[in-house]
Symmetry: C3
Subunit: 144 residues, 3 copies
Amino acid sequence: MSGENAGEEKSIVAIIVSKNSLDMAYPPLIIAQTAAAMGMEAHLFFTFWGLYLIKKGGAEKAKLPGFMKFFTGMMKKKMAKVGIKPLHEMIRDAKAMGVKFHACQMTMEVLGIKREDLIDEVDDVMGAASFLEIAEKAKVTLFI
Amino acid sequence: MSGENAGEEKSIVAIIVSKNSLDMAYPPLIIAQTAAAMGMEAHLFFTFWGLYLIKKGGAEKAKLPGFMKFFTGMMKKKMAKVGIKPLHEMIRDAKAMGVKFHACQMTMEVLGIKREDLIDEVDDVMGAASFLEIAEKAKVTLFI
Amino acid sequence: MSGENAGEEKSIVAIIVSKNSLDMAYPPLIIAQTAAAMGMEAHLFFTFWGLYLIKKGGAEKAKLPGFMKFFTGMMKKKMAKVGIKPLHEMIRDAKAMGVKFHACQMTMEVLGIKREDLIDEVDDVMGAASFLEIAEKAKVTLFI
């Protein structure tokens, strides 16, 4: 993508977001926000189930996985109590901090999701190759 | 492993494949194929449940996890419709593109799986130390 | 953290441990132990469910996920047969080999877990920013 310009020194964090359960949706957002706050460039690539997090209304519906789903409300309360915002607000804040939101093209085709179904925070739709170009330059690469 | 020779510039992608559910089996193969197509060197290390993917007949049996397993057929159809091949064909293609397939020695011992139980695409059986030597030189390291 | 000193050449492996199921608790410990044995610096950051592994008695209680939990005992026997130690002994050994154990501050607040609830092997409690500083310098970064 960008970054061909020499002399650049900004560290990149590239995270693949593959799940949409509440417990696995928070880590990429927390890490990306933290990286951005530290002056790093953070990229999130939403693929497979992760794509549902950037579908309109998807972040609001995220639940704990399996039987733990019944404890989703309780977990949300515990998180709110220590000041952790709801997922959709985390997404909005991350975007405002400069975190990049990439939607996986192949997943959109498989699940029949269109660009207009995605939230406004999404920067672009890209394939695995474009994301790998970013990841190749990243100091930290994670699959969550 | 290899790569002690100076002057080498090929980027390495090193992925640990730890699961054998359909949804978590595709990402490593898609990323590895994409990396290989981009001229990168891609390594897959199959460990824990991931080892079942390179057991003869294992890729064909992969299902979605938990209760979603009943929707495995539907998901396979959706993927086929947009041109995504079945897992065992993805493995064959990845191999032909130069992706390296490593089987985790310890997992084979734990699960009582022998070399002859593995598919022909497997390059070698190695321990965590050998894989870490590859990962140490990699630009992208992922645990899937 | 440390490591500002020039000339340093030790490779760093930085792993985020986010789950406490038996199958996902072993990989970070095996990789960290292997890295330490190879002369690398290994860091484990226990967050979300992973924090339960470093709660007193938590490693001993780890089970296989979902319905597989009924096979936990069988899996433990298979692992013991090939010489793999129980989790809490792996933790003790890893610590003795120099692996660093970091507890996630935010998770402790959410789950209401206090420093004295954690095992003695824990080196410190830190936030995501401190861990990212370590990960930024690492050759291998994994989210497990």
